[in-house]
């Protein structure tokens, strides 16, 4: 009987080894281990054995069953691996074929650049505020130290809607509204649409966008202004960017400066972009004029502040090398899809 058992084991293992697929393995299992299987059949004959032999044969039978089962499991695993391998091989793709696109749209380039600026200035503590586009003469001019007979009014051609009512020519109007409603310390950024009666051409648009910044607190100096603008310029134009102040004139700041940044195209050596100067003019700024502070009920002896105005359209066209500002307002999809 022991011999029989050994034979069964050898046969079973032999058959398992030659099994070609999962079905063959299962056949082996049924043939030897199933209810009507050969091993089961042998065990049924155990009754005819002597009581001494019975436990020995029983033990042997269990051992053989275990061995067969182990081999069966192994074989099964190997076969599964093989099958998986074959399936994967059959599933091979041409990975150079194009990917499936999920259509994503896009923000307008002006929005993309504005969002960047908002991030930069919010990180420096500037609240982002809005102001009305239709302004009164008072907020757009008078409170900004541009009285009716002031020659600075010639600097900008204004669209009027009624006597004393106009489309704002600068976001600076928001300075006044802010200072009237907030107390120092003030730190705000007011992005928005502004209007000037310029005929449309490659560099002029009657509608464009400015970003006005204002800081008012005790002890604010031009060094703070430069520090903030340097931080901004480095974020926008790269960490090596330098900032230069040139004296200028705006009625609502004194001293007033034009702010140049080192040309990011040539690093300041001089190129076509900066017209050989190494510098690009990006914004106007200055210390808030004492009269403007007074007009808003802020004591210029106690507080000081700075303001700056950035042309969003210009920053956008220089960043993307857009040569004609009209592209920004045409909304041709072939243009918009590029950003």
């Amino acid at each position: 009987m022991k011999q029989q058992l050994e034979q069964i084991k050898n046969q079973a293992i032999e058959e398992l080894k030659s099994a070609a697929d999962l079905k063959a393995v299962d056949d082996v299992r049924v043939k030897y281990l199933g209810k009507k299987g050969e091993l089961t059949a042998i065990l049924k004959q155990m009754g005819g054995l002597s009581p001494e032999e019975r436990p020995i044969v029983g033990q042997l039978a269990n051992k053989i069953r275990a061995e067969i089962e182990e081999t069966l499991t192994e074989t099964l695993a190997t076969l599964k691996d093989k099958e998986t391998e074959q399936r994967l091989a059959a599933e091979t793709l041409d990975i150079t074929m194009p990917g499936k696109k999920t259509a994503e749209g896009g923000l307008h380039p002006l929005s993309i650049v504005l969002d960047d600026m908002i991030d930069i200035f919010r990180s420096m503590g500037f609240d982002i505020v809005d102001g009305p586009e239709v302004e009164t003469d008072y907020y757009n001019f008078e409170a900004l130290n541009v009285p009716a007979d002031h020659p600075a009014r010639d600097m900008q051609d204004t669209f009027y809607l009624a006597e004393g009512l106009l489309l704002r020519t600068q976001t600076s109007a928001a300075q006044i509204r802010t200072m009237e409603t907030r107390k120092p310390p003030i730190r705000i950024l007011c992005p928005g649409r502004v209007y000037r009666a310029d005929e449309v051409d490659a560099t002029h648009s009657p509608v464009f966008h400015q970003i006005e910044g204002l800081v008012v607190d005790k002890g604010i100096t031009m060094c703070d202004l430069k520090g903030v603008l340097e931080q901004f310029a480095r974020e926008i134009y790269g960490p090596e960017t330098k900032v230069k102040f040139r004296p200028s004139f705006f009625p609502f700041t004194e001293p007033s400066v034009e702010v140049d940044v080192s040309c990011s195209e040539c690093g300041g050596v001089g190129c076509r972009v900066c017209k050989g100067s190494g510098w690009i003019e990006i914004l106007g700024a200055g210390m808030v004029h004492p009269r403007v502070l007074s007009a808003c009920g802020i004591d210029p002896e106690e507080y000081s502040g700075f303001a700056f105005g950035i042309g969003l359209d210009r920053i956008t066209t220089t960043r993307y090398k857009i040569s004609d500002i009209r592209n920004l307002f045409e909304n041709d999809l072939r243009f918009l899809e590029q950003f």
Binding site: R122, D154, G227, V243, P251, P255
Partner: protein, 795 residues
């Protein structure tokens, strides 16, 4: 302000190259608009003397000239017939460049060597105004006194630069050569010399010649007059003509040139009247009367109003104050006696008059920006000293100087430390004092307190901020070192409206839409194109008083026009599909005509065509946006002329319109050239933002399983599914979790005029697992409700 380098050198030592001058002036606040090297267009042209002339053997018109060019004699062939032996002529040598662009090289003319070219005035782009005799036909014959071999640029004074300084609005004192020269002296640290104002008079009394009165001192705070007799009208000397030309004006005659030169030199406009033409020998400075006429020097006739100031004689206006003289009293070749005027006119009045008459002159430009009341006399004296210098008239004794008092210098007391505190730089006090004094702001210092005397010419200097600027632009802005802001830590916040707009934008971008940005004004006919009725409130739009054109003339009250324009642009450019949005605002006046700021109401639009887009694609976008803010939106048919009547809807919540959207009426789309199905949505963000979902509160996850039941039914094709859905909701009661429409079918197998609709209903209880009995009971209720609205369950 255009001024030549040589002109500036009349008043100030300039010891640096012109490029450096330009850079340093820029850093002091005088941006350079342009710096033109006058010598750049000519080279290798010298004064030549024709020593011998022979006829060309093979030509009947060419001459072979031997020309002494200083260090040698060159053979040059010319075709001109006005050359003669001994003549001095401009000789362009081999490899020379002429202002007209020609490049002259040696060569052979009919076999005879020619080592250059003799030049005409035209070839050198000269006229008689530049060099006498330059305008004649033929070779330019030069003055006998010229040095043979001299560089023509030297002879013509072309080793010079014209520098155009940009003068900021706060510095009217620098709209003149002297103003610029003073600044140059401070910037370079060199000496400034004021030109002479000495002159001799020749007796008599001005009061015997003329009577002057000022009626309107409010518009003319100072009027100064002098008389010059025995005037000898003639040409101005070269230096004077050159200065006038450098500034971009045309030399005319000595008297007119003097008035122009003095204006360009001192910034004070002057005017000269022909004394003969002053009726009744009387000058009256007064407002014009309405309808009064004047013909100005440019021979244009103007009708005046009582807001315009004129200089009148005893009868008529003789000059538009500060803008232009009258034709009747202009200086003529035979003028013998003149009345000189120097005055200050109020700047806004000059500006308004100029605007109203469409006139802007060198004179009015200066008055508009402001002239110094104390400079008036200096300018007059300067003009008289030029009369003396040019010896072109005899100055009558006596001056008429009408004013209501002249301002004395103002005194400012400012702490030096306040100046430093504003700029954040420790400028040594003695440096501050030195700089201010150099700028003609007489300054003394005691214990850190500055006392600054500000002359009236520096009206712009009012306090510490202005002084800080004056100091820093000379001390140098490069001393300002950027530093982190010296202030409290603050967190930058966004307004809720911006946060909401950002959410909507990123939602739509994620769904494949592109953002458009369009102008806020549209054409006046836009609402007609959309077929919006005459009494619609969107007709109440704010109009621009001075638009660039009709297409930009009205502040928009809706965004459909702009969106259709954007879609049409893309459609015309053959884009097969477009999906776009714009987040902006509309302008709603509180009254018309407007007297106060209109409401600026946030609104947005979506536009689609192509790519199988349909009404429901658009509605999906609208629902997604509304869903950010609220639930429970109902949809009704829209009633807008520019939408397809059967394919447009209004989204309503609590009786408020949140959105109007749909397929654009084909007739309207066609007007925009859109012969494709076009979809537009208008979302009233202002109203939508009033709703908000509030804080999120966690709902416990369900403990018991849900039951799903499908209901397929037949109903009239015209029955809105919203009716069916609400019937289901009512029938299902509070155990309802979800209602989902999953099929709508019309066609074969279905009775005509009917549709098949299928819903999946999910029911769940929070307390227990629902039994089949529960579900059957609810299903029965649902079916009853559905039947009550006209739906029949399909078997």
């Amino acid at each position: 302000m255009k001024v030549s380098l040589s002109w500036l050198k009349r008043y100030v030592d300039i010891n640096v190259p012109v490029e450096e001058l330009c850079d340093r002036m820029t850093l002091a606040g005088f941006e350079i608009e342009e710096c033109v090297d006058l010598s750049a267009n000519m080279s290798n042209v010298v004064v030549g003397k024709v020593v011998k002339m022979e006829r060309h053997p093979d030509s009947d018109h060419l001459w072979i000239c031997q020309v002494d060019v200083g260090d040698r004699v060159e053979q040059i062939v010319t075709g001109a017939q006005n050359v003669f032996e001994g003549a001095l002529v401009p000789a362009a040598l081999h490899d020379s460049h002429l202002p007209n662009g020609a490049h002259i090289k040696k060569g052979k003319l009919r076999g005879v060597e020619s080592n250059g070219m003799l030049c005409s005035g035209e070839e050198l782009m000269l006229t008689d105004a530049d060099y006498e005799g330059a305008s004649i036909y033929g070779i330019m014959i030069m003055n006998k006194n010229e040095t043979v071999g001299a560089d023509m640029r030297e002879v013509l004074g072309l080793f010079d630069w014209i520098i155009d300084f940009k003068i900021t609005a706060n510095r009217p004192d620098c709209q003149c050569a002297l103003g610029v020269a003073k600044e140059v002296a401070v910037v370079l640290g060199t000496k400034f010399s004021e030109p002479t104002t000495d002159y001799k008079t020749s007796g008599e009394d001005i009061n015997d010649y003329i009577k002057v009165s000022v009626k309107d001192y409010d518009l003319c705070p100072r009027y100064l007059g002098r008389v010059v007799k025995n005037v000898r009208i003639g040409e101005s000397p070269e230096w004077l003509k050159k200065c006038v030309s450098a500034a971009g004006m045309r030399p005319i005659n000595n008297i007119v040139d003097i008035t122009n030169f003095v204006m360009l030199e001192t910034g004070q406009p002057m005017h000269a009247f022909d004394y003969r033409d002053i009726k009744n020998s009387e000058i009256i400075v007064r407002r014009a009367t309405d309808g009064e006429m004047i013909t100005t020097l440019d021979e244009k006739e103007h009708t005046l109003t009582s807001e315009m100031l004129v200089i009148a004689d005893g009868e008529n206006p003789s000059c538009l104050a500060g803008i232009m003289g009258g034709l009747n009293s202009e200086i003529k070749d035979d003028t013998t006696t003149i009345f000189f005027e120097a005055a200050k006119f109020r700047r806004d009045n000059v500006r308004k008059t100029g605007r109203a008459l469409g006139m802007r002159t060198e004179s009015s430009a200066r008055f508009e920006r402001g002239v110094d009341i104390n400079n008036v006399e200096y300018a007059m004296n300067r003009a008289l000293s030029l009369i003396s210098e040019l010896d072109c008239g005899d100055i009558v004794d006596g001056v008429i100087d009408l004013n209501e008092g002249l301002p004395a210098p103002r005194t400012l007391n400012v702490k030096a430390s306040d100046i430093c505190a504003l700029v954040g730089v420790e400028v040594p006090t003695e440096k501050i004092v030195e700089i201010l004094n150099s700028l003609h702001l007489a300054t003394t210092e005691q214990n850190g307190m500055l006392t600054v005397s500000v002359p009236s010419i520096r009206d712009d200097v009012e306090g510490k901020a202005d002084l800080a600027e004056e100091v820093m632009r000379i001390y140098g802005y490069d001393h300002i070192i950027g530093k982190p802001m010296n202030s409290v830590i603050m967190r930058g916040k966004k307004l809720p409206e911006r946060i909401n707009a950002d959410k909507i934008k990123s939602l739509l971008v994620g769904k494949g839409l592109y953002e458009a940005v369009t102008y806020s004004f549209i054409g006046s006919k836009a609402l007609d194109t959309l077929g919006i009725s005459e009494n619609d409130e969107r007709r109440n739009a704010v109009k621009l008083l001075n638009p660039l054109g009709d297409e930009y003339s009205v502040m928009r009250t809706q965004l459909v026009t702009s969106m259709l324009t954007v879609l049409a642009t893309n459609y015309n450019r053959k884009q097969p599909a477009a999906a776009m949005f714009e987040v902006s605002k509309v302008f709603v006046p509180k009254q018309l005509p407007v007297t106060e700021q209109p409401l600026e109401v946030p609104q947005m639009s979506i536009g689609l065509y192509g790519n199988d887009a349909d009404f429901f694609t658009l509605k999906g976008f609208v629902e997604d946006i509304l869903d950010i803010f609220c639930d429970g939106v109902s949809y009704e048919r829209a009633n807008e002329n520019y939408y397809h009547p059967g394919r447009s809807a209004v989204a309503v919540k609590d009786g408020k319109t949140l959105a109007v959207f749909g397929e654009i009426h084909p007739a309207v789309a066609e007007k925009y050239g859109l012969d494709t199905k076009t979809y537009v949505a208008e979302i009233k963000l202002g109203t939508l933002y009033e709703f908000s979902r509030g804080p999120v509160i966690f709902a416990p996850l369900p403990k018991f399983p849900a039951i799903e039941r499908d209901f397929a039914m037949l109903c009239d094709a015209s029955l809105p599914v919203a009716t069916l859905e609400s019937a289901i909701r009512q029938g299902a009661g509070k155990l309802l979790e979800k209602v989902e429409l999953f099929d709508v079918y019309m066609g074969e197998q279905i009775e005509k005029g009917k549709k098949s609709v299928a819903y999946r209903v999910t029911l769940r209880s929070k307390e227990a697992t629902l039994t089949d009995e529960d579900s059957a009971k609810i299903s029965k209720k649902i079916i009853n409700r559905l039947e009550s609205v006209g739906a029949v369950l399909r078997g």
